[in-house]
C-alpha cells in the first residue's frame, strides 16, 4: 500500500517542482530575520458537487485550488502570508513577508528539510469519489429522490446533493520535518418538504466521511432520504415545546454536539493559554459528573473528523479530555504545547492554506456507561427526548452554550409521547456536565455531517455520545406551565 505522505510529496515534486531543496530554501528565507520556527503548508484541493432538484440534476460544479501558507513564529507572535502561485519567486516573496514578524537583521539560516516516515492510515484515498464518473453520483441522487417520495404522498419536493473533496497536503518545517497526507471527504445531503393541509414542513439529513463509494453500501441513499421524509412528516404533528428547566434525555449519536459545545471548545488550548476559557487553569479539577469521560479521537477509521496528521504535520491521536469527571488535558497545537510544556496532541488544524493554525477538535466523544437506554427514558416523569440537531454555539468565556433540536419528543411518565417543534436548549458547560446523571451502554458515532466553525474557519468534525440523562437543562420552548 503506498503511503499518503510519500504520495503527497511526489505530487508536489512532480507537478510544481517542490522538492526538499526548494522547501529548505524557502524555509531559510522565512527564518532569515530570526524567527524561532517556520512552516510551509502546501495544499492542492479539488472538490465538486452535483445538485439535484425537481427530480433532475440542476447543476454540477468543480473547483480547484492550490497554494502555500507560510508561518513564522517568534515568541508568542506569528507572521503569516500565503500565495496561490507555487512558483519560486512568489513563494520566496510570501516567506519574506511572513519573516517580518521578527525584526532581527537579515541573516540566512540553513535548513535541511528531510522527508520523514509514513503517517497513520485512518482512511485511504485509493478510489476517491472525485475520480468516479458523474453518472454513478447522479444515480445516488435519483435513488434518494425516489425513496423520499415513496415514503409518503405528502412529500412534494426533494432536494439532494452529493459532494466530494480530495485534499492533498504537504507540511515542511524548519525543524526539518517534511510530511504529507491525502484526505478524501464525501458528503450527501437530502432535504424533503412535506405539505399537508396548507402547511409546509422541511427536514434535512445527510452523512458522509473520509471514504469513497463504499459509504453508500453502509448507509444507502434510500435510508438517508427516508429519514428526511420521516422527519418532515413528523413535524406536522409536533406540539409546542415546553419552556423552563426540565430533565432531558439525549439519544445516542448526534447528541454528541452537546460535548462539542459544552466542553470541547473550552478545552482548545489557545483559549486556555490566554486564560480566556472558563476551563482555564482547572486541570485536575472535577468539571463534570464522575459518569463523564470525554475523548477527542482523530483516529476513528473513515470518520469525517479523522486526520492521519494534523495541519502542522504532527501525528493525530486520542486525547483524554475528561476522565470520570476530572479535567485531564487540553487540545494542543504546536504553539500552545510549547507554552504548556506538553506534547502537541495533533490538534493543529486550518481550513485552507490561506488560514492560520488553531487547536481544533477532531471526533469528540463520550464513552459508554452501564445503563440500558430504555431504562433511562423510563425513569423520567416529564421531560424531553432529543434525537436530531441543526447546530450549536458556545460562549467560550462564560461557558453558556446552546444547541438547536430538530427532532424531539415529550417524555411523559417514562414514555415517549408527542413530537415537539424546533427548540433550543441552553445551559452552562460545567453546570450541565455536572448534571449528567445516567449514561447508556449504547455509544454511537454520529454520521459524518458536522462542520465546526471557529474564527471564521470551518473544519469537518465528528461527534458521538451514548444515551445520556441530564437532570435539568433549560428548554427554550413557547409553552409555559
Amino acid at each position: 500500500m503506498p503511503n499518503p505522505s510519500t504520495e503527497a510529496q511526489a505530487l508536489f515534486a512532480g507537478r510544481y517542482n517542490i522538492d526538499p531543496a526548494v522547501m529548505s530554501g524557502i524555509l531559510s528565507v522565512a527564518l532569515s530575520r530570526g524567527g524561532d520556527f517556520a512552516e510551509l503548508f502546501f495544499e492542492h484541493r479539488t472538490n465538486g458537487t452535483i445538485t439535484w432538484e425537481d427530480q433532475r440534476v440542476k447543476s454540477a460544479s468543480r473547483h480547484v485550488a492550490q497554494g502555500v501558507g507560510i508561518r513564522v513564529v517568534k515568541g508568542d507572535a506569528i507572521g503569516y502570508a500565503y500565495t496561490e502561485s507555487l512558483d519560486l519567486a512568489a513563494m520566496r516573496r510570501a516567506a519574506e513577508t511572513a519573516s517580518r514578524i521578527s525584526g532581527d537583521p537579515e541573516r540566512p539560516r540553513p535548513i535541511d528539510a528531510t522527508p520523514s516516515g509514513s503517517v497513520g492510515a485512518y482512511y485511504e484515498a485509493g478510489d476517491p469519489l472525485t475520480a468516479r464518473p458523474p453518472a454513478e453520483k447522479v444515480a445516488l441522487l435519483e435513488r434518494a429522490d425516489l425513496a423520499a417520495r415513496a415514503y409518503h404522498p405528502s412529500i412534494t419536493r426533494v432536494d439532494a446533493s452529493v459532494s466530494d473533496e480530495l485534499k492533498i497536503i504537504l507540511v515542511a518545517r524548519s525543524d526539518g520535518k517534511v510530511i504529507g497526507d491525502i484526505q478524501p471527504l464525501i458528503r450527501v445531503n437530502v432535504s424533503a418538504l412535506s405539505e399537508r393541509d396548507g402547511s409546509r414542513r422541511l427536514a434535512r439529513t445527510g452523512g458522509g466521511g473520509r471514504l469513497g463509494m463504499e459509504y453508500f453500501e453502509a448507509v444507502t441513499p434510500e435510508e438517508t432520504a427516508r429519514d428526511a421524509a420521516r422527519q418532515a412528516l413528523l413535524q406536522h404533528d409536533a406540539v409546542e415545546a415546553p419552556a423552563g428547566t426540565l430533565p432531558v434525555v439525549l439519544a445516542a449519536g448526534d447528541s454528541g454536539i452537546l460535548l462539542h459545545e459544552a466542553i470541547g471548545h473550552g478545552l482548545e488550548a489557545d483559549f486556555n493559554r490566554k486564560g480566556t476559557s472558563n476551563y482555564s487553569g482547572r486541570i485536575g479539577e472535577l468539571v463534570a459528573s464522575p459518569l463523564v469521560t470525554v475523548v477527542d479521537d482523530g483516529t476513528i477509521p473513515n470518520s469525517r473528523g479523522s486526520i492521519n496528521i494534523d495541519d502542522e504535520g504532527n501525528e493525530t491521536g486520542r486525547t483524554v479530555l475528561i476522565e470520570n469527571g476530572i479535567l485531564r488535558g487540553y487540545l494542543q497545537d504546536q504553539m500552545s504545547a510549547g507554552h504548556f510544556g506538553v506534547r502537541p496532541t495533533g490538534s493543529g488544524r486550518r481550513e485552507t492554506f490561506k488560514d492560520y493554525i488553531m487547536p481544533r477538535m477532531t471526533n469528540t466523544l463520550m464513552l459508554a456507561g452501564q445503563e440500558s437506554p430504555e431504562d433511562i427514558i423510563r425513569g423520567v416523569d416529564r421531560g424531553i427526548y432529543c434525537i436530531s440537531f441543526s447546530g450549536g454555539q458556545v460562549n467560550i468565556s462564560n461557558g453558556d452554550f446552546v444547541f438547536s433540536v430538530t427532532e424531539a419528543y415529550m417524555i411523559e411518565n417514562g414514555r415517549l409521547t408527542a413530537p415537539i417543534r424546533d427548540v433550543n436548549l441552553i445551559g452552562n458547560g460545567p453546570d450541565v456536565l455536572s448534571k449528567v446523571s445516567r449514561v447508556g451502554s449504547d455509544y454511537r458515532l454520529s454520521d459524518g455531517r458536522w462542520t465546526c466553525g471557529k474564527d471564521g474557519q470551518s473544519v469537518p468534525v465528528g461527534v458521538g455520545l451514548p444515551t445520556v440523562l441530564i437532570s435539568g437543562i433549560t428548554v427554550g420552548g413557547t409553552s409555559v406551565g
Binding site: N278, N398, G477, V480
Partner: protein, 457 residues
C-alpha cells in the same frame, strides 16, 4: 504580499477572455466572476503584536449554461493552459445536468449600464495605510478597553483588518464591468472577572469601506469594555411571558433572520413561512424594512448584482405589509417574477438571491421611554445559536441582557432562552426608537416586542 493589486483593465480583460474561451469550447451562454484582493490583518494582544497576516489572492469562477444545462467551476490557477482546460471541462460538466427552462443569463434589456460612480466603495487611504498604523489603531482599541475599568482583566486581542480589491464580471451577452472596493475592520474582545471564576466577555467592532468612516479605535474599545462589565453578576431568571426590548444590534439580528425568508430561492423551494404572503400584513405598522444597495459608502452597496443587473432599493416590508421577495434571474423566472437585481455571487458559487444593506426604518420613540414603559421584561443585548426555522418561522435562541423592573434595567441576565414565531414577533412590535444605528451593512433602532416566552429556571 508583495504582488501589486492587479490593475482594473487586467481583471476585466481576463474575465472577458475566459468568456471567449468558454464560447470557443462550445458554451451557449456563460459568465465569469473574478475577485482579486489583497488583505492585511494585525492582531495585538495585551499590547504585544500577536499576529501579522498579509496576502493577495486572485481567482475566478465560470458559469456555463448550454441548452438550459448549468455547470459552475472555479480556479486560482490563471495560466492560459489552466483557463483553457477550465473552459473545456466546464462545458463538458454541463452535460451532466438536465435542461432547465428557467436557467440562463438575464434578458439583454436588463443588463446594467450602471457604474460604481458616487457609491464610494473604494478608499485609497486603505491601500496606503502602513502596518505600523494598523498596529497603532489595534493597540489603541485594546488599550482603551483595558483601561476602562480595573475589573477588565483579560483580552482576546484587538484587531485591525484591511482589504482592497476588485470584482469583475463579464458575460456572453456583452456585459463587462468591474469596480474596486475596500474595507477596514477594527474589533476587540475583553473579559471581566465575575464571582465563581466566571468570566464575562464582550466584543465590539466597526466595519466600513472608508477609513474616515471607521469608528474611533478607543471608542470601540470602551464599548466592548462597558458591555463586558454590564454582564458582571448576570443570572438566570424564571420562565415567563414578558415584553422584550431589542437594542439596535439585536433588531439587526432579527432582520438577518427575516432576510433568509425573503429569498426567491426559499420561495420556490417552499422553505419560507412568507410563501403566498406577498401583499399581506406580516408585522405591526411600525415595521418598515428596505434592502438598499444604492447607499453611498455602505459595505453592502454595489452598482450591479452578481449577474450584471442594476441593483436598486427594494422595500421588503412597508408599515407591516410584506412587499415581496428578492430574486435573481433564475428564481424570478422560476416563480413568474422579474429579477430584483439581488443576485449575490462568489467565485466558487453560482448566483443566488441575497440582501445588500438592510435598513429598519427609524421610529419616533425615545429609547429610554421604550424601557421605561416596561414593568417586567427583558432588555436583549446578546443572542446565541441558530434556532430559527425559516419554513415555519419558529424562533428559539439563547439570550442575555438585563432584566427590566418597573421601567429600569435592574440586573444582568444570562443563560436564558427567548422563543416565539417570526410573525408573532414582527406583529408584536409596539415601539420603535428614534435611535437608528448603523453597524456594517445594517441599520436599525431599538424596538420592543409586546410578548415573548423567556425560558430560564
Amino acid at each position: 504580499m508583495a504582488e501589486a493589486n492587479p490593475g482594473a483593465a487586467r481583471n476585466l480583460d481576463l474575465a472577458r477572455h475566459v468568456v471567449q474561451l468558454a464560447r470557443r469550447a462550445g458554451a451557449e451562454q456563460c459568465d465569469v466572476f473574478l475577485s482579486a484582493f489583497t488583505e492585511s490583518s494585525v492582531t495585538v494582544r495585551l499590547g504585544e503584536v500577536e499576529k501579522l497576516i498579509e496576502a493577495g489572492s486572485r481567482s475566478l469562477g465560470l458559469r456555463v449554461i448550454s441548452g438550459g444545462r448549468t455547470a459552475i467551476s472555479s480556479t486560482s490557477d490563471l495560466s492560459e493552459a489552466s483557463l483553457e482546460a477550465l473552459a473545456k471541462d466546464t462545458v463538458e460538466l454541463a452535460r451532466i445536468s438536465e435542461a432547465d427552462e428557467f436557467a440562463g443569463l438575464p434578458e439583454p434589456d436588463l443588463i446594467s449600464r450602471a457604474t460604481a460612480q458616487g457609491l464610494q466603495l473604494y478608499d485609497e487611504r486603505i491601500e496606503t495605510m502602513t502596518t505600523e498604523e494598523k498596529i497603532r489603531s489595534a493597540r489603541a482599541c485594546e488599550a482603551a478597553a483595558l483601561a476602562f475599568d480595573p475589573r477588565i482583566t483579560n483580552s482576546d486581542g484587538g484587531m485591525f483588518v484591511t482589504r482592497s480589491g476588485e470584482v469583475a464580471l463579464a458575460n456572453s451577452l456583452g456585459f463587462a464591468g468591474s469596480y474596486p472596493g475596500t474595507s477596514a475592520y477594527i474589533a476587540v474582545e475583553v473579559m471581566a472577572d465575575d464571582e465563581g471564576g466566571k468570566k464575562r466577555n464582550a466584543a465590539w467592532y466597526s466595519v466600513e469601506r472608508a477609513l474616515h468612516r471607521l469608528a474611533d479605535p478607543a471608542e470601540v474599545g470602551r464599548i466592548a469594555a462597558r458591555r463586558a462589565l454590564d454582564q458582571v453578576g448576570a443570572r438566570k431568571v424564571g420562565t415567563k411571558q414578558v415584553p422584550v426590548v431589542l437594542e439596535p444590534r439585536m433588531t439587526m439580528r432579527l432582520m438577518g433572520d427575516l432576510a433568509g425568508c425573503v429569498s426567491g430561492s426559499a420561495l420556490y423551494r417552499g422553505a419560507t413561512f412568507l410563501a403566498g404572503k406577498a401583499g399581506q400584513a406580516i408585522g405591526s405598522p411600525l415595521v418598515t424594512i428596505v434592502d438598499d444597495p444604492s447607499l453611498p459608502g455602505r459595505p453592502g452597496s454595489r452598482p450591479w448584482d452578481g449577474e450584471g443587473v442594476t441593483s436598486s432599493p427594494r422595500p421588503l416590508v412597508t408599515a407591516g405589509r410584506f412587499e415581496g421577495f428578492l430574486f435573481d434571474v433564475y428564481t424570478a423566472r422560476r416563480t413568474g417574477n422579474r429579477t430584483t437585481g439581488s443576485a449575490s455571487r462568489g467565485v466558487g458559487s453560482g448566483p443566488a438571491p441575497g440582501t445588500s444593506n438592510l435598513v429598519f426604518e427609524v421610529g419616533t420613540a425615545d429609547p429610554a421611554a421604550i424601557v421605561a414603559d416596561v414593568a417586567d421584561g427583558l432588555y436583549l443585548t446578546e443572542m446565541i445559536g441558530f434556532g430559527f426555522n425559516p419554513t415555519t418561522g419558529d424562533f428559539s435562541r439563547g439570550a442575555a441582557g438585563f432584566w427590566i423592573e418597573n421601567g429600569r434595567l435592574a440586573f444582568p441576565v444570562t443563560e436564558v432562552n427567548i422563543s416565539g414565531t417570526m410573525e408573532g414577533m414582527l406583529g408584536g412590535i409596539d415601539a420603535a426608537g428614534a435611535d437608528l444605528t448603523w453597524l456594517g451593512g445594517s441599520a436599525a433602532p431599538t424596538i420592543r416586542i409586546r410578548e415573548m416566552t423567556v425560558s430560564g429556571l
